[in-house]
């Protein structure tokens, strides 16, 4: 009995599917126009979700340039999506070298504290070659290296002595060293950075291929050297702090925040007049921004899908009327109401799914066009593809039920006579 039930269900399903495809194929233009609505709705969801994921992957990997258990203290927020009083931020005191030094003295918990600033892009020249003028130039103290995830591959890092006496030394990134010294070690060689002479004392290990390539295209000079050569006016420094381990991360952050407030004489009760940025907080901020986009696109898509659903319902009602006699025939040879209902709901779902599948494919292609355009790795959001198709089925069921119910409840006698 159970076996027979299963055969019955399977046979019914197969028959209904075949009929649905038949019916859709019989009116190609009509079906195509109808499923266009679903296609657009699903496309808009998938294209945005794919594009967001492409950007999110990129942002997450570029944000993690901060080393493990590290955070940064800055005057300005790193990025913001509204809610920042920029005038207030602009009135904040600059973070100075002296503040950084004081913090390094006072804070006991951090593993290392570095002070840094970033200068405009520069060009490196040597007797052997020259780089493009896109080298990122950092001014650093020794404490920055762990927080920045910089590992010395050859030579040495910037030392306290370099900083104290503003020596003209430079540490080159792996890619940059490769470019300007294609043969042999650059250690001890002279380079011209924006026209001024430096001696190479170290080369960084490459950060690997998974990072975007400019992270190896860096030149690091002692902070003090950089400040005196590139100018200190209107320049606020950043402080990089690395906690000893994950478990002390929070308490280190609290200690540093408190110390910083004392150093900057922030009145009690006032909010911090500086920003503390960690990988986590940046990713959280990005996600908060994308959530707004997600909610927006969900709203727009649901309106599109409701419109599409009404279109489907309309065409299904037409289809039921056109096929009244077919329904009568099926009822006469023994189809139950349930069979007719299944047939028409499946037809509506098939219509939606066809539109949905094309929408998903186009959406993924469209979203990855962003990836191509921004030269980022492509992604295939499997979860959203599945969600998209599920939504299609739901639309099909919601808007196919009434026409199917109507079809199932036609009077067999009348429908057999229907002309």
């Amino acid at each position: 009995m159970k076996a027979k039930r299963t055969t019955l269900l399977l046979g019914e399903l197969r028959e209904s599917l075949a009929m649905a495809l038949h019916a859709i194929a019989a009116h190609k233009l009509r079906s195509a126009l109808t499923l266009l609505g679903v296609l657009i709705g699903v496309f808009s969801i998938i294209v945005v979700m794919t594009a967001l994921r492409v950007m999110q992957n990129n942002i997450e990997s570029s944000l993690s340039e901060l080393g493990i258990n590290s955070f940064m203290i800055r005057k300005h927020p790193m990025m913001s999506f509204g809610g920042v009083d920029w005038e207030k931020v602009a009135r904040r005191k600059d973070i100075t070298l002296a503040m950084g030094r004081k913090l390094a003295e006072q804070a006991s918990q951090p593993q290392s504290i570095g002070i840094e600033t970033m200068f405009w892009g520069g060009q490196v020249e040597t007797r052997l070659g020259q780089s493009a003028p896109t080298v990122q130039v950092f001014g650093e103290t020794p404490g920055s290296f762990p927080s920045r995830n910089w590992v010395i591959a050859d030579g040495r890092a910037i030392t306290e002595a370099d900083v104290d006496s503003s020596r003209d030394v430079v540490v080159l990134g792996a890619a940059l060293a490769e470019t300007v010294f294609p043969l042999g070690s650059p250690l001890g060689e002279k380079v011209k950075l924006n026209g001024l002479n430096y001696t190479v004392v170290g080369v960084l290990a490459s950060k690997g291929a998974s990072r975007s390539d400019n992270q190896d295209n860096v030149a690091i000079v002692p902070l003090t050297t950089g400040l005196s050569r590139f100018g200190r006016w209107n320049r606020s420094l950043n402080i990089l702090v690395q906690a000893k381990d994950r478990s002390s991360f929070e308490s280190t952050m609290d200690e540093v925040r408190g110390a910083m407030r004392v150093i900057r004489k922030t009145p009690p009760g006032e909010p911090d007049d500086f920003e503390i940025i960690s990988n986590d907080s940046l990713i959280a901020q990005f996600n908060q921004f994308t959530r707004v986009v997600r909610i927006g696109i969900a709203g727009v898509s649901s309106i599109a899908l409701i419109a599409a659903g009404i279109g489907i319902m309309n065409i299904m009602l037409v289809s039921v009327t056109e096929r009244t006699r077919e329904i009568g025939i099926r009822r006469a040879v023994g189809a139950k109401k349930r069979n007719i209902m299944t047939q028409f709901i499946l037809e509506a779902i098939m219509l939606c799914e066809l539109g949905g599948m094309v929408g998903v494919v186009l959406g993924i292609i469209g979203g990855n066009a962003t990836a191509l355009f921004l030269r980022l790795p492509t992604v295939i959001p499997v979860d959203w593809a599945i969600i998209g198709l599920l939504i299609c089925s739901v639309v099909g069921i919601i808007f196919g039920t009434y026409p199917a119910w109507k079809a199932a409840n036609l009077d067999p006698i009348d429908s057999l006579r229907y002309e």
Partner: protein, 229 residues
């Protein structure tokens, strides 16, 4: 035991506030293997009678036993099952699925009976062969002549081995020669033991049957058994 037993069947319709008595307390029994013609002018109630016998409709009052089961108070699902199992319809306008080929049309009742694919194919082929259309089974209805279409319909009606073959003006859309062919097919089916009920208003067609029921104004006007001519 009789195959069909109608007792005091009444069927009323409401039409625009007016009550129409299509059938008034009709009682009737038909035994297995009979070949019956139901005749009557339009509006006499013969279509209503046919719909009731075919389980497409239920009576307002009275009882209907088909093959021992009381059909008159079955619900929609049970009626669909009875139609599927016990009744084979042949219509004036053939009523084939236009987009499906002959074979698939014949398979249709088996699908709703839940027969699996292989068995279904085999039984449908047998039925198509029995009406002599094996070479046309992959054609769609609009590629078949009227007579061929009606034979597909007969094959579909017989494919589930029903108790009754119920034909409503089966020759109404056919020329007289093809009509005779179909009636000859019915004759042959009757001889091989099928119960056949033909609804018609043509004397020529009714004469093929062994028993002629005449309906007038919702009542049975006459019920005569004729000898073989």
């Amino acid at each position: 035991m009789s195959l069909i037993r109608l007792e005091k069947i009444t069927r009323r319709y409401q039409m625009g506030g007016e009550t129409i008595h299509a059938l008034r307390e009709v009682s009737l029994t038909i035994a297995r293997g009979e070949y019956v013609a139901i005749m009557g002018p339009s509006g006499s109630g013969k279509s209503t009678l046919m719909n009731l016998i075919g389980c497409l409709d239920t009576p307002t009052s009275g009882s209907y036993h088909l093959n021992g089961a009381d059909v008159s108070d079955m619900d929609d699902n049970e009626l669909a099952e009875v139609r599927n199992r016990e009744i084979g319809f042949v219509f004036q306008t053939f009523n084939l699925l236009a987009r499906s080929n002959a074979l698939h049309n014949v398979e249709l009742p088996l699908i709703y009976a839940g027969i699996d694919t292989d068995e279904r194919r085999r039984v449908a082929l047998e039925a198509i062969e029995s009406v002599g259309l094996t070479d046309r089974m992959h054609h769609k209805p609009n590629e078949l002549s009227g007579g061929q279409r009606q034979r597909v319909a007969v094959a579909r009606a017989l494919v589930n081995k029903p108790s009754i073959l119920l034909a409503d003006e089966p020759t109404g859309n056919l020329d007289s020669r093809t009509g005779e062919e179909i009636m000859a097919l019915f004759e042959q089916l009757s001889r091989s033991g099928n119960t056949i009920i033909v609804v018609t208003h043509e004397e020529d067609i009714a004469r093929h049957a062994r028993r002629i029921l005449r309906i007038r104004d919702g009542l049975i006007a006459s019920d005569e058994v004729q000898g073989r001519s």
